[in-house]
Structure formats: C-alpha cells, structure tokens
C-alpha cells in the first residue's frame, strides 16, 4: 500500500541555514502522525516544508505517489494538502464567515458550529478582533472543512480552552476515520496520546524517537520533551 505522504531524507530551513536534517517518515491515509519536541526543534519547519511555504534543500516529498517537492504552496493545496499555521493563522481583516468560506466550497457543517458555538455567534465579526484561542479554533475549523486528503496542523491547541481541545480531538478522529492523513505538530501530550497513531520525536532538527500509538508510553513522550 502506497503511503499518502512519503518524506525521504528531507533537509531544509531558512535562507542558507538548515534547521531540519535528513527526516524520513510516512503518513498513510486514515492515520495521524504526532510530531513532538520542544520549542525550536524543527516542528514548524517540517510543517512548512511539507506545505510548501519553504523549499527543501535536499530530500524528496511524495504525495499520493506524486513528487510534490517542487510544487508551490497553492498547487499543493489543490493536490489535497491542507494547512493550519502556528501563527498568522486567520485573515484578520475578513469576517469569520469569509475565513471559513475562502478555502472550501460551502458553509461548514452545523456540527462544527455545535462544537464551537462562538464561531456561529461571530460570523459577521472580523477575525482579527477575536481572542488568540478563538482564532486558533477558527483556523482549525477552516482547515477541517477543506476538501483535503492530508491535514497539517501546527500547534493548533496553543491558547485554546481544554473543553475545546477535546472537541478538536473529536474532529481529528472523525477526519482520520474518513480517510484523511494528519500531520500534527504539538506539545500537548494529552492530545497527542489521545489521537496519534504514530509518533515522531524531534530534537535539534533530527529524529530522536519514532513509535506507534499503541507501543509508545507517556514516559517515552515526556523523554522527548525533556531532551
């Protein structure tokens, strides 16, 4: 079975400085890979390299069996790659409704408004006037409702209330059950151990730990964060 996303020997960073070194990992359809590590170890860089915001200096990225490394970000989105960035994750000057409708063809299913009622209350409000946590939720929902096969999420729960993090976990499980692959960069171990099928631990831009969701203990995860 061909993996949805195949990353092989990926090295990259910003300008002439590499931040990630020789990363190789796969994500299959209907599975969630949790990427964890302390701040600055390269999680965001990995997300950006796969999404196309920055170009790799070495290595291959294949999506659905097709080479994707040379495609610009907008083309990767059309191939089926969705992305929620860690910062600047919404269009501040657009309303909540416009933010939600830009990336998808229709309005979000009512289920999302049931889980996150603040969004439904603020549809006409500019996204830039919302709190940090609310903007995270808006960006998360926008990413979830897009018609994508691979979803890349970079620290989606930062500043989000615990109750809403649980709702996010429910949404992720649903999308994975529908067959989507998810690359989740996160430091929230509760969420990661709740939803991840596989783990990838990073330190100083290199892989320090890999394991399946069943076999990896909380102690293993804590060890990655304490490196």
């Amino acid at each position: 079975m061909t993996a949805l996303l195949e990353i092989e020997g990926l090295t990259g960073g910003y300008q002439d400085t590499n931040v990630l070194f020789e990363i190789s990992v796969e994500i299959e359809a209907g599975s969630l890979l949790g990427v964890l590590g302390r701040n600055g170890v390269g999680k965001t860089t990995l997300a950006r390299l796969v999404q196309g915001e920055i170009k790799a200096s070495q290595g291959d990225i294949r999506f659905d069996g097709q080479p994707m490394g040379n495609q610009p970000a907008h083309a990767r989105r059309h191939m089926g790659v969705g992305y929620m960035p860690q910062t600047a994750m919404v269009f501040d000057d657009l309303t909540v409704q416009e933010n939600l409708s830009l990336g998808s063809s229709g309005k979000p299913p009512d289920r999302y408004f049931d889980l996150f009622p603040r969004l439904a209350e603020r549809l006409k409000q500019p996204a830039g006037t919302m709190s940090g946590g609310e903007r995270k939720i808006l960006s998360f929902v926008r990413t979830m409702i897009e018609d994508t096969k691979l979803i890349i999420l970079d620290e989606p729960t930062e500043g989000v209330q615990p109750e809403n993090i649980n709702h996010m976990a429910d949404c992720l499980r649903e999308r994975v059950a529908e067959g989507a692959g998810v690359l989740l960069c996160e430091q929230n171990l509760n969420l990661l151990s709740d939803v991840a099928d596989w783990f990838l631990g990073l330190d100083s831009g290199r892989v320090t730990m890999t394991g399946s969701g069943n076999m990896t203990t909380r102690k293993d995860l804590n060890a990655v964060l304490s490196l």
Binding site: H74, R77, P85, A88, D93, E98, L102
Partner: protein, 282 residues
C-alpha cells in the same frame, strides 16, 4: 447654483472617480504606490490617436486601448512590480522611474505636441434647462452605471474577498489554494486597464500630450487620501470632496483657489484623519 455648474460637478466627480479607480485597486488593494498611474491614463488617451493614425474604424478605440495598456502593465508587473509587493516605498521609487520611461517613449513616438480627438457623440442635449455636451452626459451616466455594477460585483464576488485575503496574509492565502502571483498580476493589469479606459473616455475632452498624466495622478491620490483606501464608498466620497471642492471654487472664485483648497484639504486629512473618511482594509 446654475444647472451648468451642477453638471460640471457631476462630470468632474464621475471622471475623477473613474481615473482614481485603478489607483484604488493598485494602491488600495495591492499596496503598490503606483506613480505611473497617470501614464496609463495618458497611454489610454492616445488610443484614439493611434486608431486614427492607423486608419482604423472608431469602434476599435477600446480594443486598441486595452491592447496598448494591458501588455505594458503585464510586462511591468512580471518584471518589476511582482518583486515590490509589501515594499511601498520601493514601489514608489520604481514606478516613478517607470512613469518617466513611459512618458519618454510616448514622446519619442508622438512628439511633445498636443493632440486632440473628436468625441464619438457630437452635439448637445438640454438638461435642467441648460445645453450640455451629449458626450459628457453619456459618460456621466455610463460611469454611474459602471460603478453600480462594480459595487454589486465587489460585494458578491469571491475574487474581491480573495484579493483582500492575499493582501492581508499572502502565505495563508497560498495555503488555501490562492495563486497569489497570478491574482496580483491580474489585479495590477486590471487596475492599469481601468486607468487606460479613463484616459480613452477623457481623450475627447482634454489636450492629449505626454505630460498629461501627472495631474490625474495627483488628484487621484488626493481622492484616495480624503476618501480612504480599500472601499468603493471611500473612492466615491473622496472624488466627490476633491473634484467638488475644486470645481465649485474654480467656478465661484478661480482655479487657483480651487487647487489651493484641494491641497489644504489633503494636508488636513493626512494630518488629522490619515485613514480618510471611509477607510476600510476590507
């Protein structure tokens, strides 16, 4: 107030709104301070001259205008402007140079002398008891209808929202599938083409010469400063205040007082209300 003054006000306001529309798109949406905007108006004004020189029928003036302005704008966007998005001061300097270049090229081809063309609609019509050129009445009505259509399109189209998204957060816009390079190029070329169209429409009413764009550029900037960037309402209000003040004072006092008042207004707005009457980044 006489009927002629009222009609003159309508003419000046509507034509300034049309001229400033392209700048409102390029400066207001793309944040490119296009100092060559007036030169695109000037190139558009030369379209009837080119059509006449080539012996083409009059109805080809619009295609000639678009074929002249469009490729120039496209080439400039691909070679220079695309590197300047988000760099407003650099864009000012670069487009200032482009303006000089375009003026010199036009001067090389057509010379420094004035050109004039006849309006496609001759004669006058009686409006509110005053005889007024039929062409100007047709242009006022056409611009009014055009802006109503544009407003309708802008509030309903996804393209307008995508442009706002691209300007506000280009990386995220790319991430949701917007080809920002293509959209920027399209918006820039469209903005320049509306400037060319304004020049074509104004051509029968002005003296056509290589330096003519400068005045349109300045008055367009004044209209955007006063009205505010980013909305059609702001463009309309700004054009109304600038063209209205200049025309009214020009009629009751002198053109000098009119221009002085416009300058003073613009400075006051920049000082006290820098975002204009109706600023909206949306």
């Amino acid at each position: 107030m006489s009927s002629v003054l009222l009609l003159n006000l309508a003419w000046q306001i509507s034509t300034l709104a049309l001229v400033a529309l392209g700048l409102a798109i390029v400066f207001g949406k793309l944040r490119i301070m296009n100092m060559a905007h007036g030169e695109f108006v000037m190139i558009g004004a030369y379209a009837p001259v080119i059509t006449s020189m080539l012996g083409l029928p009059g109805w080809l003036q619009l295609p000639v205008c678009l074929v002249t302005v469009g490729p120039v704008a496209f080439v400039l966007e691909r070679t220079i402007i695309r590197h300047l998005y988000g760099r407003m001061f650099d864009s000012l300097l670069a487009t200032w140079g482009i303006a000089i270049l375009l003026r010199e090229i036009v001067e090389l081809i057509f010379g420094r002398g004035y050109q004039s063309v006849s309006p496609p609609i001759a004669g006058t019509v009686c409006v509110f008891g005053a005889d007024y050129p039929a062409y100007r009445i047709a242009v006022i009505i056409g611009i009014l209808l055009g802006f109503i259509g544009l407003y309708w399109w802008n509030t309903r189209s996804k393209t307008g929202t995508r442009i706002k998204a691209m300007v506000g957060n280009p990386n995220l816009a790319e991430a949701i599938g917007i080809n920002t390079a293509r959209l920027s190029a399209g918006a820039f070329v469209f903005g320049c083409c509306t400037a060319g169209l304004a020049g074509l429409i104004l051509a029968p009413t002005v003296r056509i010469e290589p330096m003519m764009g400068l005045d349109y550029l300045i008055r367009s900037f004044f209209a955007l400063v006063v009205g505010g960037l980013g909305s059609l309402e702001g463009l309309g209000i700004g054009s109304g205040i600038i063209a209205g003040t200049q025309t009214f004072l020009g009629a009751v006092a002198s053109q000098t007082y009119g221009y002085l008042a416009v300058l003073t207004l613009s400075i006051l707005f920049l000082w006290l209300k820098p975002n204009g009457v109706r600023s909206s980044s949306r």
